[in-house]
Symmetry: D2
Subunit: 341 residues, 4 copies
């Protein structure tokens, strides 16, 4: 059996470890062969593929990025499923392992469920917003980098008696902000799931200041303050009502400074969160998911993806996983309240 | 209500984060006060205690070690429960949060279950050998440090065409070796739960060598090779039959070199694994466990400890948790086989 | 003799190590006592001071920030030298060690040379722009953080076939960009000392792209492209003609994308470069400078600062050091050319 | 012109950066071509060589180890200079760049000076024991790793009220111990250049303990205590009189524990110090030295090596550099005294 393997959507630490786990497991346990597909669906649609051997995946467990490249090409563009079938037949590809986030897996689910194609998935989210799995690889690395950034910013904030606002990833969910905020000892944590008012933010900042601390605010990029329309005269928001004035971090910093009188600076962590060598946690999880995906192929579990449940690797239907965002639940939000201010 | 809090047994990254989580939660959510007990049970037996305020725990989430100190004093020494009750009464301590490993929690369970004392627990294991919880804090930091060590040793091994043996912690269980070995791409992983023969070890080393790799062996300190008695003429083993010739790493290296002809060096990671700043994962887990312990006190759940189940914090009876070691299960061992050699 | 010690100007990794080195040397070698002055010149002008003992500086060699706080208060404000003399007399302060950058040392030089005050200096620059010393502490940490950022950005750039622009510190000099660019393997390095044209930048980007690399551009914040006036219609520059359109990184990225057709993203490293624990190099240098400053006080070398010359700690007149910026010289710029593109 | 390039002797972080710097400079600035020689002198003697192109050195600045491999083969073995000349002629190699430590450069000097062969050098020492250059690459990475180890060990030592002994590299010189000891805040620093008595060591340990600190001892592997013969009954020393009882760290720990009554543990840092990704400092220095070596070849400066003098890259005769060890000088030893105890 020949398996085509691809990485699609945004880059994330651990993609290479998935590829390595899948290829080693497939070749050594089942005698499969592998075809590397370049840049996600693009490579499959444009027949940009090449054989993938054991030697190609050596030393990959700790290397950031993806040796297969990635793109945001949609699977139903450029000829779609029909064109894919042609390429698969031409290259002798019997099944596809698609590694990617919500968009990639939604496409993969549709190809498997609606078109009857032999596709399985491996979930990847930096943001940890994917349902059906406790965590996926990439998130732990992102929260580690964000925590290290807080550690560094704290010393400067303390020395200068300043407030620092750190904007981290999370368009729809606040997992990175929540966890890095807990880990780094932030005084305000702002996440999309639980909008708070400007006044609440200012109160947290003042409370920390009054206890002699340099206030640290961690904000997910998708956070929208309650009452934002009062502050944003020129309607600089996107269609979801999200603040789009150079980012929420840059939006908040001057407002905090004006309201509290405390000098305030913003820092956008951005792309630093998705690059570089994965943490040990992410390497292990990615390797296990890659190996499990091969077993799903062996069992012809088309439309399924490998997932984490507690400490076990399980299988879930991709269609179920992509239906819902995994939001920060109310109890995690309540839990963190005593750490704020 | 006044809560006495202590750290007992071996040091581990995250102890300070537990203390901070408990104190902040107790003071801000429930209006409790706290008494810091120095050096575990010793401080309680010898009345070495002091009030613990919010200001004492600030900035602790990322700091290694424990501000309370630790010791291996046994709770039934020096007057035992009776003496503890005297000190608790004198200092007005209404309940105890004991943070520690298997030994500490076994003692705490006995105090709660047999003596009726108001004691709850927070589990801490570097080795991840404690049942009743998916993971505890400290383990992720240890596996990260071990993985980083493998990354460093690999480059030197490659340059010198050498085999490297890295001995990591794990007297009874092989979790650190298993996970760091997967994360770092080791060619042999040796753990107490699944003894293998010398010949198997040599085969893994030769197999990696024949593919042009510098062989990397990760061995848990408690691993005992099958057939060890043939190699250890002078019976240099402890009462459990464990090799005690300067450690298993130093025992294996010359045997590998002799059998395979490949120059081999050993490195003992030792104390590096339990010190320093905790990872983001460990900080979050430790903080959550500390906060949950306070809730257990509020509910008078004497004899219980906070635990991790998937992504949830739960409560389990300490007596149940300390009954069994959490061994690496057969399926995790089978899973890793395709990565070896 | 009682020495007042202060940190002034921008925060930088190693300030605490200087304080520790000075206090330990002063107390143990010469029997001096120390007075900590809060927030630079502000603390001296407003009599915000406190005794500083051995116990106050323990464990400080690796801690970021400054336990004394810092500010940008000018020494000639709020009563100036006269007011300082009053406070020094009131507190029994016999000499001042001022730790800071160009502005701080210029002030200290003037106080010593023009007012005859007993002031010595310790140079601190993140940017490495201070003459009279080979390096000062803080710079090595900054170049390390910038290099690590490049390492992380590279993997994402490679995976996405993107160009990344990293903006690092350096208003007047390009040392961080030059060194981190060399260390991280950047394809374009843009520094204030050697303006290049937009076309040159695009050529470097295209050259890397044509060899199959994801182009990496490192730019110092003070870099101004040749011909900037053609690109900046609305004159969004400061009085020095510097581009001020949300920063040079954000200015360049869309221009590169438009000119080359390669998707391009910018990242501003900002405050991350000046916080957190110093590198070993910076800790050693800071400690040595702190100890040397005490010896200068002993010799009544008013107006002098401790400096690094090769591997030796020397003394130079502050007035000489602050006269000139230490620019990246022509030979260092020529040297790096073969690494670009 | 075709340049043969090799790495010889012990592995060190930065070797790959030297190779990359030399190859890029040679090809792009002077139109040279390169031949990679495998495993040092062995490859030249056994004709184990291959062409080295630009593409072979891409991405190497931050990668640990050496893509050329290394060995300790002596240049005067296996046919020696005559055999080398034969291979050079056969492969069209016009000059040799030899990258290595004292042994390698001594051999290279002899080949150039005595045999008239076209050989230049690039110095590499982890220990920083090479004369003629302020620092060489590898040392900064080693001191960083040792400092990080001290940071980690300190938290555990503090928690357990223990003394820790860290043994670091340095057979003949104490640079790593001196600098990491200063950076990490060690209470005793033991180096070969300045033997001290057991009693002095115990005094430093007791002094730290009496001030409430967990004593930290950093010892270079080549340190020999004064009066060692009284402690080492069985003459377990090598021909230089060095203690060889499982290493100086393991020798000292029980003696400290016995003399002071403080529980004491030893940790041998070993191979961790020479592997892995180099620091930014080492990457820049290595790159500059590699580029400079090509210029020496261009000028036919046979017998010379590239060196660091302050911030400048210079040339020195290899024969001069290898004549003397660069010891820690008396003034650096005196300087550190106030930090001990």
């Amino acid at each position: 059996m020949n398996i085509g393997i691809m990485t699609s959507g945004g880059d994330g630490p651990g993609l290479n470890a998935v590829i390595r786990g899948a290829v080693r497991k497939g070749i050594r346990a089942h005698g499969f062969s592998f075809t590397g597909i370049r840049d996600g669906w693009r490579g499959l649609l444009e027949d940009d593929t090449h054989p993938l051997h054991m030697v190609d995946v050596r030393g990959l467990s700790g290397r950031g990025g993806t040796i297969l490249g990635t793109s945001r090409t949609h699977p139903y563009s450029q000829g779609g499923p029909e064109q894919m079938r042609t390429v698969m037949e031409r290259r002798g590809i019997d099944a596809i392992i698609a590694i990617g986030g919500e968009g990639t897996l939604a496409g993969a689910a549709r190809l498997a469920d609606d078109e009857g194609m032999p596709v399985v998935g491996v979930p990847k989210t930096i943001d940890n917003d994917l349902d059906g799995t406790d965590y996926t690889f990439g998130f732990d690395t992102a929260q580690s980098i964000a925590t290290e950034a807080i550690d560094r910013l704290r010393t400067t904030a303390d020395s200068h008696h300043r407030c620092m606002v750190l904007e981290v990833m999370g368009r729809n969910v606040g997992w990175i902000a929540l966890q890095a905020g807990m880990a780094g000892g932030a005084h305000a944590i702002l996440i999309p799931e639980f909008p708070v008012s400007y006044e609440q933010i200012f109160d947290w900042v003042r409370s920390a200041w009054d206890r002699g601390r340099a206030p640290l605010v961690v904000v997910a990029e998708g956070f929208v303050p309650e009452g934002v329309e009062d502050q944003v005269a020129d309607r600089g928001t996107d269609k979801h009502g999200r603040v789009r004035l150079g980012g929420i971090g840059d939006h908040l910093a001057p407002l905090i400074e004006e309201a509290t009188g405390i000098e305030t600076r913003a820092m956008i962590l951005g792309h630093l969160q998705r690059g570089g060598s994965p943490t040990a946690y992410d390497r292990v999880l990615a390797t296990r998911l890659g190996m499990a995906a091969v077993d799903i192929v062996l069992n012809e579990g088309w439309g399924q993806m490998a997932a984490l449940d507690g400490t076990d690797i399980t299988r879930v239907r991709m269609a179920d996983a992509v239906d819902n965002l995994k939001l920060v639940p109310r109890n995690r939000w309540d839990e963190v309240q005593v750490l704020l201010g």
